[in-house]
Protein backbone atom coordinates (compact mmCIF):
# COMPACT_ATOMS: atom_id res chain seq x y z
CA UNK A 1 0.00 0.00 0.00
CA UNK A 2 1.44 3.40 -0.95
CA UNK A 3 2.03 6.05 1.70
CA UNK A 4 1.26 9.66 0.91
CA UNK A 5 1.35 12.96 2.75
CA UNK A 6 -1.95 14.77 3.21
CA UNK A 7 -2.00 18.01 5.13
CA UNK A 8 1.47 17.33 6.52
CA UNK A 9 0.51 13.87 7.79
CA UNK A 10 1.70 10.53 6.43
CA UNK A 11 -1.22 8.19 5.65
CA UNK A 12 -1.74 4.86 3.88
CA UNK A 13 -3.87 5.00 0.74
CA UNK A 14 -4.87 2.72 -2.13
CA UNK A 15 -4.07 3.34 -5.81
CA UNK A 16 -6.94 5.80 -6.09
CA UNK A 17 -6.08 7.70 -2.92
CA UNK A 18 -8.70 6.19 -0.62
CA UNK A 19 -7.33 5.87 2.92
CA UNK A 20 -6.84 2.27 4.03
CA UNK A 21 -6.21 2.67 7.75
CA UNK A 22 -9.30 3.70 9.73
CA UNK A 23 -7.31 5.07 12.66
CA UNK A 24 -5.11 7.42 10.63
CA UNK A 25 -8.09 9.65 9.84
CA UNK A 26 -8.93 12.85 11.69
CA UNK A 27 -11.13 15.88 11.03
CA UNK A 28 -8.28 18.03 9.75
CA UNK A 29 -7.45 15.36 7.20
CA UNK A 30 -11.10 15.20 6.16
CA UNK A 31 -11.03 18.93 5.34
CA UNK A 32 -7.98 18.40 3.14
CA UNK A 33 -9.48 15.32 1.47
CA UNK A 34 -12.65 17.31 0.73
CA UNK A 35 -10.59 20.08 -0.89
CA UNK A 36 -8.80 17.48 -3.04
CA UNK A 37 -12.13 16.63 -4.67
CA UNK A 38 -13.47 20.15 -4.98
CA UNK A 39 -15.50 20.49 -1.78
CA UNK A 40 -13.97 23.62 -0.28
CA UNK A 41 -16.01 23.82 2.87
CA UNK A 42 -17.49 21.04 4.96
CA UNK A 43 -20.79 22.25 6.41
CA UNK A 44 -22.50 20.88 9.50
CA UNK A 45 -24.61 18.69 7.19
CA UNK A 46 -21.47 17.25 5.56
CA UNK A 47 -20.08 16.43 9.01
CA UNK A 48 -23.26 14.67 10.10
CA UNK A 49 -23.02 12.40 7.06
CA UNK A 50 -19.28 11.79 7.52
CA UNK A 51 -19.77 10.91 11.18
CA UNK A 52 -22.54 8.46 10.32
CA UNK A 53 -20.22 6.77 7.81
CA UNK A 54 -17.40 6.53 10.36
CA UNK A 55 -19.66 5.09 13.06
CA UNK A 56 -21.39 2.66 10.73
CA UNK A 57 -18.06 1.38 9.43
CA UNK A 58 -16.87 0.83 12.99
CA UNK A 59 -19.95 -1.28 13.65
CA UNK A 60 -20.16 -3.29 10.42
CA UNK A 61 -16.61 -3.26 9.05
CA UNK A 62 -17.90 -2.16 5.65
CA UNK A 63 -18.32 1.19 3.93
CA UNK A 64 -22.09 1.83 3.99
CA UNK A 65 -23.84 2.02 0.63
CA UNK A 66 -25.70 5.11 -0.50
CA UNK A 67 -28.94 3.28 0.26
CA UNK A 68 -27.80 2.51 3.79
CA UNK A 69 -26.74 6.10 4.42
CA UNK A 70 -30.16 7.15 3.24
CA UNK A 71 -32.38 4.53 4.95
CA UNK A 72 -30.39 3.88 8.15
CA UNK A 73 -28.66 7.26 8.46
CA UNK A 74 -31.80 9.15 7.52
CA UNK A 75 -30.19 11.42 4.90
CA UNK A 76 -32.38 11.77 1.80
CA UNK A 77 -30.60 10.59 -1.37
CA UNK A 78 -31.28 13.89 -3.18
CA UNK A 79 -29.59 15.72 -0.31
CA UNK A 80 -26.54 13.46 -0.56
CA UNK A 81 -26.23 14.30 -4.26
CA UNK A 82 -26.31 18.01 -3.36
CA UNK A 83 -23.68 17.66 -0.63
CA UNK A 84 -21.38 15.38 -2.63
CA UNK A 85 -22.20 16.13 -6.28
CA UNK A 86 -22.21 13.48 -9.04
CA UNK A 87 -20.60 10.62 -7.10
CA UNK A 88 -21.81 10.75 -3.51
CA UNK A 89 -20.97 7.15 -2.56
CA UNK A 90 -17.37 7.53 -3.70
CA UNK A 91 -16.90 11.08 -2.39
CA UNK A 92 -18.39 10.41 1.05
CA UNK A 93 -16.20 7.40 1.64
CA UNK A 94 -13.12 9.25 0.35
CA UNK A 95 -13.61 12.14 2.78
CA UNK A 96 -14.54 9.83 5.67
CA UNK A 97 -11.29 7.89 5.18
CA UNK A 98 -13.06 4.60 4.37
CA UNK A 99 -12.42 2.03 1.63
CA UNK A 100 -13.94 2.74 -1.77
CA UNK A 101 -17.23 0.96 -2.48
CA UNK A 102 -16.62 -1.61 -5.21
CA UNK A 103 -18.13 -4.35 -7.36
CA UNK A 104 -16.69 -7.82 -7.84
CA UNK A 105 -14.76 -7.40 -11.09
Amino acid sequence: MPVTTIGGKEVHVDDEGFMTNYDEWDEELAKQLAKNIGIDELTEEHWRVIKFLREDFKETGETPTLRRVSTVGGFPTKELFKLFPKKPAKKMSYIAGLPKPHGCV
Partner: protein, 412 residues
Protein backbone atom coordinates in the same frame (compact mmCIF):
# COMPACT_ATOMS: atom_id res chain seq x y z
CA UNK B 1 -33.98 -35.81 19.70
CA UNK B 2 -32.40 -32.65 18.35
CA UNK B 3 -33.80 -30.71 15.45
CA UNK B 4 -32.02 -28.77 12.70
CA UNK B 5 -34.32 -26.51 10.70
CA UNK B 6 -33.16 -25.19 7.33
CA UNK B 7 -35.14 -22.34 5.79
CA UNK B 8 -34.91 -22.29 2.01
CA UNK B 9 -34.32 -25.22 -0.36
CA UNK B 10 -32.30 -23.35 -2.96
CA UNK B 11 -28.65 -23.90 -3.78
CA UNK B 12 -27.26 -23.43 -0.25
CA UNK B 13 -30.10 -25.08 1.70
CA UNK B 14 -30.26 -28.14 -0.54
CA UNK B 15 -26.50 -28.68 -0.37
CA UNK B 16 -26.52 -28.32 3.42
CA UNK B 17 -29.14 -31.00 4.04
CA UNK B 18 -27.46 -33.36 1.56
CA UNK B 19 -24.11 -32.94 3.26
CA UNK B 20 -25.37 -33.04 6.84
CA UNK B 21 -27.90 -35.89 6.69
CA UNK B 22 -25.26 -38.66 6.32
CA UNK B 23 -23.10 -37.00 8.98
CA UNK B 24 -25.76 -36.59 11.70
CA UNK B 25 -26.98 -39.71 13.52
CA UNK B 26 -30.64 -40.27 12.51
CA UNK B 27 -31.39 -41.52 16.03
CA UNK B 28 -30.32 -38.19 17.47
CA UNK B 29 -31.04 -35.64 14.77
CA UNK B 30 -34.15 -34.66 12.90
CA UNK B 31 -33.67 -32.38 9.84
CA UNK B 32 -36.49 -30.25 8.46
CA UNK B 33 -36.27 -28.01 5.40
CA UNK B 34 -38.90 -25.42 4.52
CA UNK B 35 -39.54 -23.75 1.16
CA UNK B 36 -42.58 -22.12 -0.40
CA UNK B 37 -41.63 -22.93 -4.00
CA UNK B 38 -41.88 -26.52 -5.34
CA UNK B 39 -39.56 -25.91 -8.33
CA UNK B 40 -35.79 -25.67 -8.17
CA UNK B 41 -34.59 -23.27 -10.84
CA UNK B 42 -31.05 -23.38 -12.20
CA UNK B 43 -30.71 -19.62 -12.01
CA UNK B 44 -27.46 -19.28 -14.01
CA UNK B 45 -29.45 -20.70 -16.94
CA UNK B 46 -31.86 -17.73 -16.92
CA UNK B 47 -29.16 -15.79 -18.80
CA UNK B 48 -29.45 -18.14 -21.78
CA UNK B 49 -33.28 -18.26 -21.97
CA UNK B 50 -33.77 -14.87 -23.68
CA UNK B 51 -31.44 -15.87 -26.51
CA UNK B 52 -33.09 -19.25 -27.01
CA UNK B 53 -29.90 -21.11 -26.14
CA UNK B 54 -31.66 -22.90 -23.29
CA UNK B 55 -35.29 -23.90 -23.20
CA UNK B 56 -37.58 -23.76 -20.13
CA UNK B 57 -37.04 -27.46 -19.35
CA UNK B 58 -33.26 -26.98 -19.10
CA UNK B 59 -33.48 -24.82 -16.01
CA UNK B 60 -36.06 -26.43 -13.71
CA UNK B 61 -36.60 -29.60 -11.74
CA UNK B 62 -38.78 -30.46 -8.73
CA UNK B 63 -37.14 -29.45 -5.45
CA UNK B 64 -38.21 -32.66 -3.73
CA UNK B 65 -35.99 -34.67 -6.07
CA UNK B 66 -32.93 -33.16 -4.37
CA UNK B 67 -34.04 -33.61 -0.78
CA UNK B 68 -32.54 -36.83 0.64
CA UNK B 69 -34.39 -39.54 2.55
CA UNK B 70 -34.49 -38.74 6.25
CA UNK B 71 -35.08 -35.02 5.71
CA UNK B 72 -38.60 -33.68 6.07
CA UNK B 73 -39.57 -31.20 3.33
CA UNK B 74 -42.29 -28.74 4.31
CA UNK B 75 -43.74 -26.77 1.42
CA UNK B 76 -44.97 -23.53 2.88
CA UNK B 77 -44.30 -19.87 3.60
CA UNK B 78 -42.33 -18.54 6.55
CA UNK B 79 -43.97 -15.93 8.75
CA UNK B 80 -41.17 -15.17 11.20
CA UNK B 81 -38.32 -16.45 13.33
CA UNK B 82 -38.12 -15.88 17.07
CA UNK B 83 -34.40 -16.34 17.60
CA UNK B 84 -34.67 -15.87 21.39
CA UNK B 85 -37.27 -18.61 21.68
CA UNK B 86 -35.70 -20.86 18.99
CA UNK B 87 -38.91 -21.09 17.01
CA UNK B 88 -40.02 -20.58 13.42
CA UNK B 89 -43.60 -19.62 12.70
CA UNK B 90 -44.87 -20.80 9.33
CA UNK B 91 -47.48 -19.02 7.25
CA UNK B 92 -50.12 -21.65 8.07
CA UNK B 93 -49.63 -21.12 11.81
CA UNK B 94 -47.43 -24.17 12.43
CA UNK B 95 -44.71 -23.52 14.98
CA UNK B 96 -41.39 -25.32 14.57
CA UNK B 97 -38.94 -25.37 17.42
CA UNK B 98 -35.30 -25.88 16.60
CA UNK B 99 -31.99 -26.56 18.28
CA UNK B 100 -30.11 -25.14 15.31
CA UNK B 101 -31.33 -22.96 12.47
CA UNK B 102 -29.83 -22.35 9.03
CA UNK B 103 -31.36 -19.51 7.04
CA UNK B 104 -30.77 -19.86 3.30
CA UNK B 105 -33.71 -18.00 1.79
CA UNK B 106 -31.64 -16.03 -0.71
CA UNK B 107 -32.27 -12.62 -2.19
CA UNK B 108 -34.86 -11.68 -4.78
CA UNK B 109 -35.61 -8.96 -7.34
CA UNK B 110 -38.07 -6.30 -6.14
CA UNK B 111 -39.28 -4.27 -9.12
CA UNK B 112 -41.86 -2.58 -6.89
CA UNK B 113 -39.05 -0.75 -5.05
CA UNK B 114 -38.31 1.50 -8.06
CA UNK B 115 -41.09 3.92 -9.03
CA UNK B 116 -42.29 3.27 -12.58
CA UNK B 117 -40.76 -0.18 -12.88
CA UNK B 118 -43.49 -2.50 -11.68
CA UNK B 119 -46.31 -0.93 -13.71
CA UNK B 120 -48.06 -1.73 -16.98
CA UNK B 121 -44.77 -1.52 -18.90
CA UNK B 122 -43.17 -4.35 -16.90
CA UNK B 123 -42.89 -7.24 -19.31
CA UNK B 124 -43.48 -4.90 -22.30
CA UNK B 125 -40.69 -2.30 -22.60
CA UNK B 126 -39.18 -3.04 -19.16
CA UNK B 127 -37.79 -6.55 -18.71
CA UNK B 128 -35.68 -8.62 -16.37
CA UNK B 129 -34.09 -12.03 -16.85
CA UNK B 130 -33.75 -12.54 -13.08
CA UNK B 131 -36.93 -14.61 -12.90
CA UNK B 132 -38.02 -17.61 -14.97
CA UNK B 133 -41.13 -15.82 -16.26
CA UNK B 134 -39.15 -12.64 -16.87
CA UNK B 135 -36.48 -14.40 -18.91
CA UNK B 136 -39.15 -16.06 -21.09
CA UNK B 137 -40.98 -12.76 -21.63
CA UNK B 138 -37.66 -11.16 -22.60
CA UNK B 139 -37.08 -13.91 -25.15
CA UNK B 140 -40.26 -12.81 -26.94
CA UNK B 141 -39.30 -9.15 -26.64
CA UNK B 142 -35.89 -9.76 -28.22
CA UNK B 143 -37.49 -11.74 -31.04
CA UNK B 144 -39.76 -8.81 -31.81
CA UNK B 145 -37.11 -6.10 -31.36
CA UNK B 146 -36.53 -4.36 -34.66
CA UNK B 147 -33.77 -2.02 -33.53
CA UNK B 148 -33.41 1.03 -31.32
CA UNK B 149 -32.06 1.73 -27.86
CA UNK B 150 -31.37 -1.35 -25.74
CA UNK B 151 -30.45 -0.39 -22.19
CA UNK B 152 -28.99 -2.87 -19.67
CA UNK B 153 -29.58 -1.47 -16.23
CA UNK B 154 -29.02 -2.31 -12.59
CA UNK B 155 -30.70 -0.45 -9.74
CA UNK B 156 -28.26 -0.94 -6.88
CA UNK B 157 -25.65 -3.17 -5.31
CA UNK B 158 -25.66 -5.81 -4.05
CA UNK B 159 -27.52 -8.07 -6.45
CA UNK B 160 -27.07 -11.75 -7.11
CA UNK B 161 -24.70 -12.90 -9.81
CA UNK B 162 -23.14 -9.45 -10.24
CA UNK B 163 -21.55 -10.36 -13.59
CA UNK B 164 -24.90 -11.37 -15.15
CA UNK B 165 -25.75 -7.94 -16.62
CA UNK B 166 -22.27 -7.80 -18.17
CA UNK B 167 -22.85 -11.22 -19.68
CA UNK B 168 -26.28 -10.21 -20.93
CA UNK B 169 -24.73 -7.16 -22.59
CA UNK B 170 -22.06 -9.21 -24.37
CA UNK B 171 -24.58 -11.87 -25.42
CA UNK B 172 -26.97 -9.22 -26.74
CA UNK B 173 -24.14 -7.69 -28.77
CA UNK B 174 -23.35 -11.13 -30.24
CA UNK B 175 -27.05 -11.96 -30.78
CA UNK B 176 -27.76 -8.84 -32.82
CA UNK B 177 -24.44 -9.17 -34.68
CA UNK B 178 -25.36 -12.69 -35.71
CA UNK B 179 -28.80 -11.48 -36.85
CA UNK B 180 -27.01 -8.92 -39.03
CA UNK B 181 -28.72 -5.98 -37.31
CA UNK B 182 -26.15 -4.87 -34.75
CA UNK B 183 -25.82 -1.44 -36.43
CA UNK B 184 -29.52 -0.83 -35.77
CA UNK B 185 -29.19 -1.46 -32.03
CA UNK B 186 -27.63 1.05 -29.67
CA UNK B 187 -26.55 -0.73 -26.47
CA UNK B 188 -26.03 1.22 -23.24
CA UNK B 189 -24.90 -0.23 -19.90
CA UNK B 190 -26.19 1.76 -16.94
CA UNK B 191 -24.59 1.10 -13.56
CA UNK B 192 -24.55 2.74 -10.12
CA UNK B 193 -20.86 1.83 -9.89
CA UNK B 194 -18.01 3.99 -11.18
CA UNK B 195 -17.55 1.72 -14.20
CA UNK B 196 -18.35 -1.66 -15.73
CA UNK B 197 -15.19 -2.98 -14.06
CA UNK B 198 -14.18 -1.55 -10.69
CA UNK B 199 -11.24 -3.74 -9.65
CA UNK B 200 -7.89 -2.43 -10.98
CA UNK B 201 -6.49 -5.61 -12.55
CA UNK B 202 -9.80 -6.61 -14.14
CA UNK B 203 -10.24 -3.07 -15.46
CA UNK B 204 -6.79 -3.18 -17.04
CA UNK B 205 -7.50 -6.52 -18.74
CA UNK B 206 -11.14 -6.08 -19.67
CA UNK B 207 -11.58 -2.31 -19.91
CA UNK B 208 -11.58 -2.31 -23.71
CA UNK B 209 -14.32 -4.95 -24.05
CA UNK B 210 -16.95 -2.20 -24.15
CA UNK B 211 -15.17 -0.07 -26.76
CA UNK B 212 -14.49 -3.08 -28.98
CA UNK B 213 -18.19 -3.88 -28.96
CA UNK B 214 -19.38 -0.27 -29.24
CA UNK B 215 -21.26 -0.47 -25.95
CA UNK B 216 -21.96 2.86 -24.28
CA UNK B 217 -21.36 3.20 -20.57
CA UNK B 218 -23.41 5.35 -18.20
CA UNK B 219 -21.70 5.07 -14.82
CA UNK B 220 -22.47 6.45 -11.34
CA UNK B 221 -26.13 6.33 -12.35
CA UNK B 222 -28.19 6.05 -9.20
CA UNK B 223 -31.75 5.41 -10.32
CA UNK B 224 -34.59 7.36 -8.77
CA UNK B 225 -37.38 6.22 -11.08
CA UNK B 226 -38.39 5.10 -14.53
CA UNK B 227 -40.38 7.62 -16.53
CA UNK B 228 -42.67 5.40 -18.60
CA UNK B 229 -44.22 8.35 -20.48
CA UNK B 230 -40.85 9.40 -21.81
CA UNK B 231 -39.33 5.89 -21.85
CA UNK B 232 -36.33 7.04 -19.84
CA UNK B 233 -34.43 6.04 -16.72
CA UNK B 234 -34.06 8.99 -14.37
CA UNK B 235 -31.27 9.33 -11.81
CA UNK B 236 -31.18 11.22 -8.51
CA UNK B 237 -28.88 13.80 -10.11
CA UNK B 238 -31.48 14.28 -12.86
CA UNK B 239 -29.75 12.54 -15.72
CA UNK B 240 -31.97 10.68 -18.17
CA UNK B 241 -31.21 7.60 -20.25
CA UNK B 242 -33.81 6.99 -22.97
CA UNK B 243 -34.67 3.43 -23.99
CA UNK B 244 -36.83 1.45 -26.37
CA UNK B 245 -36.19 -1.75 -24.42
CA UNK B 246 -34.69 -1.80 -20.93
CA UNK B 247 -33.36 -4.99 -19.35
CA UNK B 248 -33.07 -4.27 -15.67
CA UNK B 249 -31.78 -5.87 -12.51
CA UNK B 250 -34.33 -4.69 -9.95
CA UNK B 251 -33.28 -3.96 -6.39
CA UNK B 252 -32.47 -7.26 -4.65
CA UNK B 253 -33.80 -7.87 -1.15
CA UNK B 254 -33.85 -10.76 1.26
CA UNK B 255 -37.10 -12.38 2.39
CA UNK B 256 -39.78 -10.36 4.18
CA UNK B 257 -39.81 -12.67 7.22
CA UNK B 258 -36.21 -11.54 7.87
CA UNK B 259 -37.36 -7.97 8.39
CA UNK B 260 -40.38 -9.08 10.44
CA UNK B 261 -38.06 -11.11 12.68
CA UNK B 262 -35.74 -8.14 13.21
CA UNK B 263 -32.76 -10.03 11.81
CA UNK B 264 -31.91 -8.09 8.65
CA UNK B 265 -30.17 -4.96 7.44
CA UNK B 266 -31.86 -2.31 5.28
CA UNK B 267 -32.19 -4.83 2.44
CA UNK B 268 -33.25 -7.79 4.62
CA UNK B 269 -29.83 -9.42 4.33
CA UNK B 270 -28.62 -10.86 7.61
CA UNK B 271 -25.26 -9.75 9.05
CA UNK B 272 -23.22 -12.76 10.22
CA UNK B 273 -19.59 -13.53 10.95
CA UNK B 274 -17.93 -13.56 7.54
CA UNK B 275 -15.62 -16.46 8.46
CA UNK B 276 -18.14 -18.85 10.09
CA UNK B 277 -21.64 -17.52 9.13
CA UNK B 278 -22.77 -17.62 12.76
CA UNK B 279 -25.09 -14.85 13.95
CA UNK B 280 -23.40 -12.59 16.47
CA UNK B 281 -26.20 -12.75 19.05
CA UNK B 282 -27.37 -16.33 18.49
CA UNK B 283 -24.75 -19.05 18.28
CA UNK B 284 -27.28 -21.63 17.04
CA UNK B 285 -28.26 -19.52 14.02
CA UNK B 286 -26.31 -19.60 10.75
CA UNK B 287 -26.97 -17.85 7.45
CA UNK B 288 -25.69 -19.28 4.17
CA UNK B 289 -25.79 -18.13 0.56
CA UNK B 290 -27.33 -14.91 -0.73
CA UNK B 291 -29.40 -14.35 2.43
CA UNK B 292 -26.25 -13.38 4.34
CA UNK B 293 -24.75 -9.93 4.44
CA UNK B 294 -21.09 -10.78 3.94
CA UNK B 295 -18.72 -8.73 1.77
CA UNK B 296 -18.43 -11.06 -1.21
CA UNK B 297 -20.55 -11.74 -4.28
CA UNK B 298 -24.03 -13.16 -4.02
CA UNK B 299 -23.52 -16.22 -6.22
CA UNK B 300 -24.00 -19.98 -6.32
CA UNK B 301 -20.25 -20.58 -6.27
CA UNK B 302 -19.98 -18.63 -3.02
CA UNK B 303 -22.84 -20.67 -1.54
CA UNK B 304 -21.05 -23.85 -2.60
CA UNK B 305 -17.69 -22.89 -1.08
CA UNK B 306 -19.43 -21.51 2.01
CA UNK B 307 -21.27 -24.79 2.60
CA UNK B 308 -17.98 -26.70 2.31
CA UNK B 309 -16.55 -24.54 5.08
CA UNK B 310 -19.73 -24.59 7.15
CA UNK B 311 -20.25 -28.37 7.34
CA UNK B 312 -17.06 -29.34 9.25
CA UNK B 313 -17.46 -26.25 11.42
CA UNK B 314 -21.03 -27.16 12.28
CA UNK B 315 -20.13 -30.74 13.19
CA UNK B 316 -17.55 -29.43 15.66
CA UNK B 317 -19.81 -26.65 16.93
CA UNK B 318 -22.58 -29.07 17.98
CA UNK B 319 -19.98 -31.06 19.96
CA UNK B 320 -19.03 -27.88 21.80
CA UNK B 321 -15.72 -27.61 19.95
CA UNK B 322 -14.39 -24.42 18.35
CA UNK B 323 -15.01 -23.86 14.64
CA UNK B 324 -11.64 -24.25 12.94
CA UNK B 325 -12.40 -23.30 9.36
CA UNK B 326 -12.60 -19.67 8.26
CA UNK B 327 -14.36 -18.75 5.03
CA UNK B 328 -12.31 -16.43 2.83
CA UNK B 329 -15.10 -15.09 0.60
CA UNK B 330 -14.08 -17.36 -2.28
CA UNK B 331 -16.07 -16.74 -5.46
CA UNK B 332 -15.64 -18.23 -8.90
CA UNK B 333 -17.68 -17.05 -11.88
CA UNK B 334 -17.74 -17.71 -15.59
CA UNK B 335 -18.54 -14.63 -17.65
CA UNK B 336 -20.05 -15.32 -21.06
CA UNK B 337 -18.63 -12.87 -23.58
CA UNK B 338 -20.50 -13.93 -26.74
CA UNK B 339 -19.70 -15.86 -29.93
CA UNK B 340 -18.98 -19.07 -27.99
CA UNK B 341 -16.39 -17.60 -25.67
CA UNK B 342 -16.23 -16.77 -22.01
CA UNK B 343 -14.08 -15.43 -19.20
CA UNK B 344 -13.46 -16.77 -15.73
CA UNK B 345 -12.80 -14.89 -12.50
CA UNK B 346 -11.69 -16.33 -9.16
CA UNK B 347 -11.31 -14.12 -6.10
CA UNK B 348 -12.01 -13.70 -2.37
CA UNK B 349 -12.42 -11.07 0.35
CA UNK B 350 -8.80 -9.93 0.01
CA UNK B 351 -7.65 -10.90 -3.47
CA UNK B 352 -9.15 -9.22 -6.52
CA UNK B 353 -9.65 -11.17 -9.78
CA UNK B 354 -6.23 -11.88 -11.30
CA UNK B 355 -5.09 -13.39 -14.61
CA UNK B 356 -3.76 -16.95 -14.82
CA UNK B 357 -5.00 -20.54 -15.16
CA UNK B 358 -7.65 -22.44 -13.14
CA UNK B 359 -7.81 -24.83 -11.39
CA UNK B 360 -4.43 -26.33 -12.38
CA UNK B 361 -1.50 -23.88 -12.47
CA UNK B 362 -0.15 -23.46 -16.00
CA UNK B 363 -2.61 -26.02 -17.40
CA UNK B 364 -6.08 -24.78 -16.67
CA UNK B 365 -8.03 -25.87 -18.64
CA UNK B 366 -9.68 -22.57 -17.80
CA UNK B 367 -8.15 -19.14 -18.29
CA UNK B 368 -8.60 -16.43 -15.70
CA UNK B 369 -9.44 -12.91 -16.92
CA UNK B 370 -9.04 -14.02 -20.54
CA UNK B 371 -11.60 -14.84 -23.24
CA UNK B 372 -11.50 -18.49 -24.38
CA UNK B 373 -13.81 -21.10 -25.89
CA UNK B 374 -12.86 -23.50 -23.10
CA UNK B 375 -14.29 -21.09 -20.51
CA UNK B 376 -17.59 -21.09 -22.43
CA UNK B 377 -17.63 -24.91 -22.44
CA UNK B 378 -16.91 -24.83 -18.72
CA UNK B 379 -19.97 -22.69 -18.18
CA UNK B 380 -22.16 -25.06 -20.21
CA UNK B 381 -20.74 -28.15 -18.49
CA UNK B 382 -21.43 -26.59 -15.14
CA UNK B 383 -25.20 -27.06 -15.52
CA UNK B 384 -24.72 -30.84 -15.52
CA UNK B 385 -22.42 -30.60 -12.52
CA UNK B 386 -24.94 -28.44 -10.69
CA UNK B 387 -27.83 -30.90 -10.96
CA UNK B 388 -25.79 -34.10 -10.63
CA UNK B 389 -22.94 -33.29 -8.27
CA UNK B 390 -23.36 -29.99 -6.50
CA UNK B 391 -26.97 -30.09 -5.27
CA UNK B 392 -26.76 -33.77 -4.15
CA UNK B 393 -23.77 -32.74 -2.03
CA UNK B 394 -21.13 -34.79 -3.84
CA UNK B 395 -17.53 -33.67 -3.67
CA UNK B 396 -16.27 -31.47 -6.50
CA UNK B 397 -12.52 -31.45 -7.18
CA UNK B 398 -12.33 -27.75 -6.32
CA UNK B 399 -10.93 -26.48 -3.03
CA UNK B 400 -13.33 -24.37 -0.96
CA UNK B 401 -10.76 -21.70 -0.16
CA UNK B 402 -9.21 -19.61 -2.91
CA UNK B 403 -5.71 -20.62 -4.01
CA UNK B 404 -3.02 -18.34 -5.45
CA UNK B 405 -1.62 -21.29 -7.44
CA UNK B 406 -1.89 -20.51 -11.14
CA UNK B 407 -2.57 -16.82 -10.60
CA UNK B 408 -0.25 -14.03 -11.67
CA UNK B 409 0.08 -11.62 -8.75
CA UNK B 410 -0.59 -7.94 -9.32
CA UNK B 411 2.97 -6.67 -9.01
CA UNK B 412 4.67 -9.06 -11.44
Amino acid sequence: MKRLVVLGAGTAGTMVVNKLRPRLDPNEWEIVIVDQEPTHFYQPGFLFLPFGEYGPQDVKKPKKRFIPAGVEFIEGTIDSVDADANTVLLGDGTQLTYDYLVIATGTHPRPEETPGMDGPEFGKTIHTFYTFEGALALREALKGFDGGKLVVHMVDMPFKCPVAPLEFTFLADAYFTELGMRDQVEITYVTPMSGAFTKPVASAHLGNMFDERKIHLESDFYTERIDTDKNALVSYDEREVPYDLVVTVPLNMGADFVAKSGLGDELNHIPVDKGTFVHKDHDNLFVLGDAANIPTSKAGSVAHFAVDVFVPNFLRHIEGLPMLEQFDGHSNCFIESGHGKGLLIDFNYDTQPLPGKYPLPGIGPFTLLGETEMNHWGKLLFRWMYWNLLLPGKELPLPALMSMAGKIPEDE
